[in-house]
Symmetry: C2
Subunit: 280 residues, 2 copies
């Protein structure tokens, strides 16, 4: 029998509670039985400092500690909720050779760290479900997908288009917008860019598409795919275009190929997108 | 008696209704009597196309028509509400010499156009109250300020710090964030940057400060002043820092001088900020 996979969980943004961690660990045991990974939740996940799971320094140190631990095979981000951009640079500066060999999985706010890791040449950076997804209705599907991905690289966990598109990246729209021009911004050349969001007015989606598609770096993408834009609040008047019309509009204005929909989003169907093409 | 000032109103974002236009015109007459400006509302202000006061082309054309009209002395943006970034580039390309001689006044979403005008070398670009402010409680104060500014350049209408700070610019935080990297982004070197916002969670203010202060262009400012951050929605947990602590944090991280508060915001006290130092 091969060595059990060891997954380290850290929280670069908001905290989780211990009960959630226990549910995730128990779920993994039930699902994968003797092939279940060992899931180690860093105590930092349970810290609380205002909005965050501990202050910036605590979050950066915990991330770097697990990333640099040669006995940990993968870093799984506990949840989003905002905060990764505050600790990413300090965290990334601490990473050594052991960090470059592991897989990193998360999405939403954690995208700021995924971007920074990928920019630094890390090869195994993936956008996909997180432990917190267990609290969604039907969240077991998201957990199973993340675990099957981390343990087996199961092909059905991967966003289907990305297996044919070549190099890909995936981001939450607001998070991507916030890292443009920052030291976390990766090189988008030749990548298909998958975008998703949740809980944003359509006028904000539109404004952020203006911002993103104005970027000369983003304009070097191979194309854009639109994931799910969910829980759109109702505005005082209808926007006049849906999310796909918005994506098409801005891609056309920017000379970017719009390639259709992507199977990602803030939901239990969120598929895994590997940054680059390292499984290809 | 000198010629009456002629103010042209256009709506680069959301529409206004005719009743509001009539109220503003009547208010100006009552306030300034025989010195009252003639306020001409472009019919485009009353158009409706989804979220916007007419489609992008209608808004760009109306703006350019009034901006290029030698018989109009000032362009007053009717309101914000989102849309200026969609029509700004097309609008700016149409501007001729008459446009460069007039004053432009607005704020919020109209900041995208103010930025683009200033970037193109327009000398009389100002951030300040708009016609729509009449609907605020006590909105007459905002109207009187805008009118006194446009008609008399009354010194008391000007944000006090900017009279000593040298070159200034003012923006809504989200709007500034959205134009960074776009063709509307002006050169911030040596300017004091005044920032305000309304209706945003503190974590979003924080995230956007990360974005703004990461910009190498923004880092060339002389300093940042924080206007009012109003109507902050309550989040599921306290953020742990107030808006001024957020501004100080990101300015310190970015090596930007934080210069204190500014007397601007989405409210009736919103003072006028002239871009550059053209009254100095």
């Amino acid at each position: 029998m091969s060595k059990r996979l060891r997954i380290g969980v850290v929280a670069p943004g908001a905290r989780i509670d211990r009960e959630l961690a226990e549910r995730v660990a128990a779920y993994a045991s039930d699902y994968l039985l003797d092939r279940a990974p060992e899931i180690v939740f860093h105590p930092q996940c349970f810290l609380s400092a205002g909005h965050f799971a501990g202050d910036d320094d605590a979050r950066a140190k915990a991330f770097a500690e697990y990333a640099n631990d040669p006995d940990i095979d993968a870093i799984w981000f506990a949840r989003g909720g905002y905060g990764a951009c505050r600790m990413a640079e300090a965290a990334l500066e601490r990473l050594g050779p052991a960090a470059a060999r592991k897989t990193y999985l998360g999405y939403s706010d954690a995208g700021a760290l995924l971007a920074g890791l990928y920019k630094r040449g890390f090869q195994r950076v993936a956008h996909g479900p997180m432990p917190v997804d267990i609290i969604r209705e039907g969240g077991g599907a998201a957990l199973r997908r993340a675990l099957s991905y981390l343990v087996d690289r199961a092909p059905e966990t991967i966003e289907l288009n990305t297996r044919f598109d070549g190099k890909s990246m995936a981001f939450n729209i607001m998070v991507l917008s916030s890292i443009l021009g920052s030291p976390l911004e990766p090189d988008f050349s030749g990548h298909v860019l998958l975008l998703e969001d949740v809980g944003e007015y359509l006028y904000r989606i539109d404004r952020t598409f203006f911002h993103i598609t104005s970027s000369p770096n983003v304009r070097r993408v191979k194309g854009v795919r639109l994931g799910r834009i969910s829980e759109i609040p109702e505005n005082d008047r209808p926007f006049g275009a849906n999310e796909e019309e918005i994506a098409r509009h801005w891609c056309a204005r920017a000379g970017i190929a719009y390639l259709g929909r992507a199977d990602i989003g803030h939901d239990v169907e969120n598929k895994v997108v590997e940054f680059g093409a390292w499984s290809a």
